[in-house]
Symmetry: D2
Subunit: 304 residues, 4 copies
Amino acid sequence: MQNKITGLIAAPFTPMNRDGSVNLNMIPPYANKLKNDGLKGVFICGTTGEGMLMTGEERKNVAERWIAEQSDDFNVIVHVGTTSAKQSNELAQHAQSAGAYAVGCMGPAFLQPARVEELVGFSAEVAAGSPQLPFYYYHIPNVSGIRLSMSEFIKQAPRKIPNFAGIKFTDNNFMEMQQCINQDGGKWDILHGYDELLLAGLAFGAKGAVGSTYNFMAPLYSDIISDFIKGNIEAARQKQLKSVKIITILNQYGGAIVVGKRLMKTLGIDCGNFRLPVSEFNEDSYEQLINDLNSEEFFEIRNT
Amino acid sequence: MQNKITGLIAAPFTPMNRDGSVNLNMIPPYANKLKNDGLKGVFICGTTGEGMLMTGEERKNVAERWIAEQSDDFNVIVHVGTTSAKQSNELAQHAQSAGAYAVGCMGPAFLQPARVEELVGFSAEVAAGSPQLPFYYYHIPNVSGIRLSMSEFIKQAPRKIPNFAGIKFTDNNFMEMQQCINQDGGKWDILHGYDELLLAGLAFGAKGAVGSTYNFMAPLYSDIISDFIKGNIEAARQKQLKSVKIITILNQYGGAIVVGKRLMKTLGIDCGNFRLPVSEFNEDSYEQLINDLNSEEFFEIRNT
Amino acid sequence: MQNKITGLIAAPFTPMNRDGSVNLNMIPPYANKLKNDGLKGVFICGTTGEGMLMTGEERKNVAERWIAEQSDDFNVIVHVGTTSAKQSNELAQHAQSAGAYAVGCMGPAFLQPARVEELVGFSAEVAAGSPQLPFYYYHIPNVSGIRLSMSEFIKQAPRKIPNFAGIKFTDNNFMEMQQCINQDGGKWDILHGYDELLLAGLAFGAKGAVGSTYNFMAPLYSDIISDFIKGNIEAARQKQLKSVKIITILNQYGGAIVVGKRLMKTLGIDCGNFRLPVSEFNEDSYEQLINDLNSEEFFEIRNT
Amino acid sequence: MQNKITGLIAAPFTPMNRDGSVNLNMIPPYANKLKNDGLKGVFICGTTGEGMLMTGEERKNVAERWIAEQSDDFNVIVHVGTTSAKQSNELAQHAQSAGAYAVGCMGPAFLQPARVEELVGFSAEVAAGSPQLPFYYYHIPNVSGIRLSMSEFIKQAPRKIPNFAGIKFTDNNFMEMQQCINQDGGKWDILHGYDELLLAGLAFGAKGAVGSTYNFMAPLYSDIISDFIKGNIEAARQKQLKSVKIITILNQYGGAIVVGKRLMKTLGIDCGNFRLPVSEFNEDSYEQLINDLNSEEFFEIRNT
């Protein structure tokens, strides 16, 4: 039985300078904040991290800086997904040689596979670039557009991907999630993906979770996990509801990732703006955003 | 604070004769089976009940026979949804005069409303037909095609629908479900809809649930609820997994409702076939189906 | 070889009174206007006609009044689609006994068929109600939600539907339309459905067309047809562009059917409002609408 | 008024070796074949050309080899689309320095823009890499997943993209196509995209077309254009129907691009297989494919 990830993994924003270049120097203090907030690691260069908006060179630089912050308690999973298995394989090679804990890879949004076999084949070509590292398929149909059965994927993947470790499961289909968690006697590591539904993932047996709001309110979710483990469901439910209310606010101001990146600056880690085609946060609405967040006691979550 | 439904409500199949006419005489023994299985009532003439495949006259006849079986412990909710608010209003009038416990109504699949205001307006015209009965909006986007925000619906509905009671929530969007459950201090009755995910609904605070597999394996779900209440999550999870495995089998043989109707005959309540455009169960695969169900110990669930 | 429809068929609005009841008395003058505009008939109680927002009784009344206006040059096709094959069969029986020219039927939006066989089966049950009348399947996936292959449908339908005549084809998939037009040596009657693309239908060989904007600007489309037949493509193209510009305006004010119903009043045929869940035209924008239409010389189309 | 492309532009396959590397040496004979077939140029590294399945280095190499074949009668348009505006800008810079005729760019399939402003912004950043070359936006919602209004795009684009030339329009929405063709007095170059519907594009005024089946049956389409210009619609229609029948066959054997790449080998230009995640053509079905194509007289199209 392989190692499984337990606890919270942040999907960090990639810090950018005013001129749109990557701000590597912000990564060490960012890592420090996340460690202080109790996170067990990071899943970098994914959706929140604007992975596919960057060049390969930029992604390698970002990976190296995060890996420099790695420790036994703080793992770095490098997302290597692109639309090209060859490019992704190169990024996987780099991640392994740079010392990452694991790699993750989204399915290709261009010429999307129509059959599970094709997706497994694509993933296998990528995973072969980092044979020493655990490989996580990143299932996020609302981003990749790939809506293939994960219960079928998890049956086929181990035969073609020797370093297959599991799935980062970012979808509402909890029937499939249950199937994946319980496949092969619970052998695979299925990471929960939607922060606002963490309690459902826990109920179905997830032990680890990757998310973007863990960047700025991880302690709230840590409490959900500990309340759940203690059997205090009502307390967990109230905290989950608080996360839902805050995410609802973020959605009203431009979406959890756009507004989340802006909030990092408020919390002392200036990550700059998103790259195109993602719109910038509208600064004119900043004061109102803060008022709304105060009404949900956002700043009283004990963030570092 | 209004009354809320707790426990399991079956969405019964509508029994049909070999010639395709409705078999009203099967309803009393059917009701008896469900009562013995511990169900708290039925939601009739909905999706599983082929409501919109029947004529208005047939639906009224079906409603009357179920209402004749109603008791303090066994409530009949009549689904009155059609594509026409006028027709549905007539069915709601009938439900009230016939003595139903409540009415439910799906949004119209024809000229689907594009805005919540329109859906509330449609629902209000229907609900006005049964002003003395609680009115439940039936949210099931995969059937109605209406993907409007339920958190917005539940804000607007009470102003226009004096007898608004809540929502039968059959969707994977558990963020919205949490918002609805907690709206107005938890005033509204939000009924969980996807049987294979009951444990998630419970985790988020649902108390009642409506489903089609409660027709033939309700005791399994009753145990999930009692395990959950006792704090025995692992036991609840294992039983939920059993339901997932059985539903997976049903899906392989034609879908939970088509195969489910066939299973009712096996369990002694012959409900006949579905009407067009739904395909009949393929009898050639019956033996294999039973083998597969036996491998999951389906028949050892203590059904009546 | 059966008779085929040539020229323009209007999809009339159903006139409503202020209290929401059907205004049958407006039908004779409405029919008169359409005859004077050169229309070859009407396709009643379809999408534009709010068919499924009415009760069966109302639809029969509407059908009888239109059929009273029928003549050798002005055919009445009765749309009988509902979500229930049994109800639609009854409406088809009525249409035949009332003397309609043909019946049309959309596929069921509730428990939508997943396979062509199921859709053909549903259609066959409906068509059996009017065995003496030509039967047209009404393909309009954006309304019915049924996206099955029409090239496959037209292969299977004749074997199960003795009175099968063709398809009212309201979709952008012109590859399928070409296949249908040319199936079985061009035997079937394929009616073009999207007014703003009439020229494409003509290019691919359509001879007849059914549409909602033919209610209020048929002469423009008659000219497109005659220009096309004469080989004057550039003239046809300019008139098609005029229709596109006008429909663009209608879309800006609430959609071609909502605004179209309002325009009928302007043109002397007061058809009232749409029923719920369709929103009313916003009268506050009427003056601006008329200005915009004047800028495209809408009122100089030689309508009656 | 800028130059517009008239006639047929092929979207070439990218030749691959057996080991999956790019086979640059096949490009000169490929170009020769296309010139002999009467094509006016190529749109390289797009959907058919597996653009985003290649690395940036591979794409530059492919572009250089095609540009070496460029002439006054044979233009090379380089597709530079990726998910990253920065990467695409680099590819655009290369295309300009290498001497391409124009660049084209699909919208980003990752973090897809939700508003036209965002798509214009992304495109502007790409187009700025090749300021001396005409820039074509590549609209293909079934591949990119971006379903924004092109009639709105074409209004906003010229203000932000000084070298904006037009749109490669690969969609069934011919209402928008008409709006784009006629915007600003017909100033922009709107290239027709769906080969099986070329006749519709011609009817609405398109003068140039880009497509994958022009690789192996361009003369058929050249005849459609000349028949259309002569006013011989019926002849054009029959040839379009022939293209529809052949594409139907290709779809039955794995899709027009997968089977098309195999057919190139049959026609003497061995382009190898597609890269993952696209499946290989199944050689076991080759004989049957050829039989089917013979029944439609595919090989009697006067290809070089």
